[in-house]
């Protein structure tokens, strides 16, 4: 795009927003005529939830990535962009208290967590960790999940389905008021106690966010994590990751392996569309419509790359 054309396009983007005419003259004049307390609508603040236990961070706040891996779908559309984050998410192992609480948490409940050190510029983050509920009946897992997914039809030799974990959506996840109340109370607690973090137990709804199928062969294990994801961008630490885009029957899958030997294969397919939400300073509003993807992530430290790809092949076929 040439420079002048870009200038015109930017002008067009600004102009394309049709704004109403306003008239604040009387309000301003009333206010300046009457000195003293003035009425303004209360400005509230925003908090987003990061479901660190089950969901990778996909917010644009982690953008500005240089490195990137792209996965394309059937129609050559981009279905996944794996990017390097410039702000690393909080390492939960740094707070033994959080791990202790999470350990003792009843399955189906969630842990709401605030840590004063977990922040980005101009931001405070509230983390919610839902604890999965384990089921051993695959039919029941399908029924409860609320979305259609494929159970891997091809398994490496000797492996059998062991159990499935269902991760339920925390209560009030889309309600701004809930966030602020939770955050304010947790911040208040840290201020009172002088500690860096505060947490509380929280309820979940019956809506399933993700399904993790566990397969085992004696002491070896792999998991297939399935969920519906909005948008294409996923952020991770690419520095310690070997990444490969591999084709299976003309379909691209993403293979990653980290320094510690954790291996993953990601398979994505278009699922539908979802309207994003953004905060307008006072409340959440509908934003752009984004594509959602049914994502299968096959994870193991025990299985070699070939076996993981075999499972992926079964899902694709």
């Amino acid at each position: 795009m040439k420079n002048l054309q870009l200038t015109d396009e930017i002008k067009m983007a600004f102009d394309s927003v049709n704004l109403p005419e306003i008239d604040v003259t009387d309000a301003v004049m009333d206010s300046i005529r009457k000195p003293g307390p003035r009425y303004f609508r209360k400005k509230t603040t925003i908090v987003y939830a990061v479901l660190a236990a089950v969901i990778l961070v996909t917010t644009t706040a982690f953008a500005a990535a240089a490195k990137m891996w792209v996965l394309k779908g059937n129609n050559d559309n981009i279905v996944l962009r794996l990017r390097e984050f410039d702000v690393k998410p909080f390492d939960t192992s740094k707070d033994p208290e959080l791990e202790k609480w999470y350990e003792s948490l009843e399955p189906g409940k969630a842990l709401v967590y605030y840590n004063a050190n977990l922040k980005k510029p101009n931001s405070v983050i509230l983390s919610i960790y839902p604890k999965p509920v384990v089921y051993t009946d695959l039919d029941l897992i399908r029924e409860k999940s609320g979305f259609n997914f494929k159970v891997p039809p091809i398994l490496p030799e000797g492996f059998e389905f062991l159990e499935g974990e269902l991760v339920f959506e925390p209560v009030g996840i889309k309600e701004y008021g809930t966030y602020t109340e939770l955050l304010d109370s947790l911040i208040e607690e840290t201020e009172k106690t002088g500690r860096e973090s505060a947490m509380l137990e929280w309820e979940t709804t019956s809506k399933v966010l993700g399904v993790n199928l566990v397969y085992r062969n004696n002491d070896k294990e792999f998991k297939v994590c399935i969920g519906v994801w909005p948008g294409e961008d996923v952020y991770t630490d690419l520095d310690n990751l070997n990444v490969e885009v591999i084709k299976i029957n003309d379909r691209e899958v993403l293979y990653t392996e980290d320094d510690e030997g954790d291996r993953e294969v990601t398979v994505r397919e278009l699922y539908g569309k979802k309207t994003t939400r953004f905060y307008n300073g006072r409340k959440f509003e509908d934003g752009m419509a984004v594509s959602t993807y049914l994502q299968y992530k096959i994870i193991s430290r025990d299985l070699p790359k070939e076996d993981l790809l075999l499972v992926a092949q079964g899902i694709i076929e």
């Binding site: 067009m12 109403p20 004049m29 206010s31 699922y271």
Partner: protein, 188 residues
């Protein structure tokens, strides 16, 4: 002395009611600026109101012979930045969403729609200062000197900032090309 300066002089001398003309003349400009900065029509309306109240209180600080509009924009810029700072979390501030659904307009081409969407997203990702520079230069057609005056920087720095901001937008556009098509027209 232009008409605005005349009115300002009268306001300074105590004619409060004259301030009405200032508000009427600049309110939609300031509202539009606040809207692009804050990403919300409702919040922009409140902000515009507050900007004019602040401007009234500071009116003695306005130096005759300088651009009143630039002085007002400076107050608006500082006010919007304050509001953005007060938000505990800013991931991305969308450009004001139009009340009119462009895709319903039969003469609006798909290509334009895609491009506008990409551009809006790219502009939304800019910092408040970068966005202000682009907005004032391209939309309000202000000179580098005027923008420098508003942001309290040197014109040469603003020129560089403007070029860099455009470059950032171009980079974002390049990153996003081919993606919005996917977002907007995906079917299941």
């Amino acid at each position: 002395m232009d008409s605005v300066e005349k009115v300002v002089k009268e306001v300074k001398q105590g004619s409060v009611e004259e301030y009405r003309h200032i508000v009427q003349k600049f309110q939609n400009q300031i509202f539009r600026y606040c809207c692009h900065m804050l990403g919300s029509v409702e919040e922009a309306e409140d902000a515009a109101q507050e900007v004019f109240i602040k401007a009234y209180r500071k009116i003695n600080g306005y130096k005759p012979g300088t651009s009143f509009s630039s002085w007002l924009y400076r107050i608006a810029y500082n006010h919007c930045v304050d509001l953005l700072r007060k938000r505990k979390f800013i991931s991305y501030i969308p450009l004001c969403e139009s009340a009119v659904n462009d895709s319903c307009n039969p003469i609006y081409s798909v290509e334009n729609y895609e491009m506008a969407q990409i551009l809006r997203k790219a502009l939304s990702a800019l910092s408040p200062e970068d966005r202000t520079v682009l907005m004032l230069r391209i939309l309000e057609e202000k000179s580098y000197e005027e923008i420098a005056d508003i942001l309290g920087k040197r014109p040469a720095a603003i020129r560089k900032k403007y070029e860099r901001a455009k470059k950032k937008v171009k980079q974002k556009i390049d990153e996003m090309k081919g993606v919005v098509v996917n977002e907007e027209f995906a079917v299941n």
